[in-house]
Amino acid sequence: MPSLPPTLSFHEDQRQSLSGIIVESAYLIQKTVKAFWGLALVLALQADRIGWHYLILFLVLILILVFIGGYLSYRNFTFRIDSQHQEFILQKGIFNKKQVVVQLIKIQQVNINQNFIQKMIDVYGVEIETAGSSKSEVQIRAVSKQIALALKSHLMEEVSTIQETDPSKPVAVTRQSFIHISPLSLVKMGLTSRYVESFFLLLAFLSAIYNNVKDIWWNDEESEDEFYQLVSTHLGIQFIASLIIGLFIVTILFNLIRTILVYYDLSIIKQGRSLNIAYGLFNSKSTVIHPQKVQKIAFQNNYFQRKMNLYELCIQQPTSDVHTDKKAKIRMPGCNQRELDAIIKFVLDKPVSQGHLLKPNIRKIIAPLVFLLLLPLGILLLLQINTSIPSMVYYMAFFYLLLAGTLIYFGYQNNRLYINKDFVIKQSGIWDIQTEIIEPYKIQAISIKQNFWHRRSDIGHIVLHTAGGDLSFRFGDYTELKKYVDILTYEIETSSKNWM
């Protein structure tokens, strides 16, 4: 019975591949381990008292149960497309049977993935994402590549026949290779990304070490001066320097490996009106982007990446919660300027133009200046009245002030907003400079704020809410902002385009 030839129409209930039993079992093992690892640890520690053979027997019993569970969940797992009601129906469950019904019109994306286990037994996972729920309920864990692709194209076809309101346009599904990111670009991105994160990680780590070392010396009733003397000796400095360099290399290496593993062989393929994106070394992922569903496009790079003509592109699709839902955000590191422009032009259907420039008021820097510069400085000055502070702290404070001041200045200088009829573009960032682009007709709501102490200086903040997160611009000219609120509202209300 189970070896029925796969009907590629999906109109009848269909099972996963037979080897899906292994995948389902592996998944169950993962769940069991997650739930009972504490208990297992206790049992393992008491192994001598219970006796090893009992423990092994117990383990075998669990494994048998898991395989029975895997088999049952394979047997009970069926899926089909009900083209009459325009629904995708999935049944699953080991003891409690569960039916998931997804209206085809609600389908956002169909992703084909392959994790390590799936790769070993050559099956693929299909994940169907819908607009309503943030986590994907609909997950098929083991089908052959042929079925995965057929299901995907079937679902997307049904979806597009529902959504395509213009029947005169033929759906030309020509697969056209578009962009391929070379491993070299990924290496370059891996080496140059996330410096700021690494830096702060390093800072936190070093301060923890510093405090611990200081505590030890304090307990030994050595005087504080002696401690600093030791720190400033040749050995101490060499130690700290090598520690910093070591940590730096470790974080960069970690970042490099992660980037290459996740985004290996990143390729972007034009498929009719949508983009097909595939990447990953061990866990291959494939996802489709429909331009009309894209809510926000962002790209960023830093000084080094600018010199090497590299960008990280990020495409945001609709989501109910931007912060927790990572899947709606698709990152593509390693594009060059030309590729970036091509993708953006393809998604937005026209080249980006900047329009009217708005810059924040100089008062934007007051808050960070007070909290990051003046407050620490004041505390230091108050402290030095009562206690003697070694001169090293002053040097550090000086460097800190210089660094923080520069960062605040650059943060202010890089912040700007461009508005025109077709695009709202925000640029921001200190080291990594990010540009976010949204189209006015995709805005869901607009908020405009003014603090009462900004009334006289005519300063205000604007927040453009989209289904792909908020875009806010703070400390703008309030009169200007109010004008743009009206213009954008007008754009939204007169546009007949569908935002999704």
């Binding site: 309101t165 704020k449 509202t489 209300e493 546009s495």
Partner: protein
């Protein structure tokens, strides 16, 4: 992506002065009676909190050393809360235009949110036990822009809330019928 009506907008030399200004709107205040509900809510909340705090203080501290400072602090917090609500009350205002709804609120910073009807996901009218007694209701408007873009207008006359709801619903349905 069908823009059958787009050609009408292909030639959009719209003078800025012609675009409706949200600032010209006279925002409607919420019902005065809603203040009573706020006061009742605050009284309930602070009598519960007060009962807990003072029973604790009296049982722990029989000599009444900290009683007075705690009492003064408590009254200060109560007074400030009432003052804050009193300040916030007149700041709340709303308006409905042909194509959108606007809600203003906030004490220290005034926030105005505009939601075009075309972008509304759904609308809800809520009534609590107290608000039903006063014939008031709360209107909630949800968009796909996440919780930060949703608006929640409390202290509306029940009929107004229902009327606003049906007006918004009418506009949500309308564009789909046109398409």
């Amino acid at each position: 992506m069908s823009d059958k009506t787009e050609h009408r907008f292909d030639n959009p030399q719209i003078q800025l002065a012609d675009i409706p200004k949200h600032e010209d709107l006279v925002l409607q205040p919420i019902a005065k009676r809603y203040w009573n509900i706020i006061v009742i809510h605050l009284l309930i909340r602070f009598s519960v909190i007060g009962a807990v705090i003072f029973s604790l203080v009296l049982s722990i501290d029989p000599l009444n050393v900290v009683l007075w400072p705690v009492l003064i602090g408590y009254l200060l917090v109560v007074g400030l809360s009432f003052y804050w609500q009193r300040m916030a009350f007149p700041k709340r205002g709303f308006a409905i235009r042909k194509h959108d709804i606007i809600y203003r609120r906030g004490v220290l910073s005034t926030i105005k949110t505009i939601i075009p009807f075309q972008r509304v996901q759904h609308v809800a009218v809520n009534e609590s036990f107290l608000s039903r007694k006063y014939g008031l209701a709360q209107l909630q408007v949800f968009t796909a822009g996440g919780s930060s873009s949703d608006i929640k207008i409390s202290g509306l006359e029940k009929e107004d809330a229902e009327r606003m709801k049906s007006q918004i619903m009418f506009h949500i349905v309308e564009p789909q019928q046109n398409a």
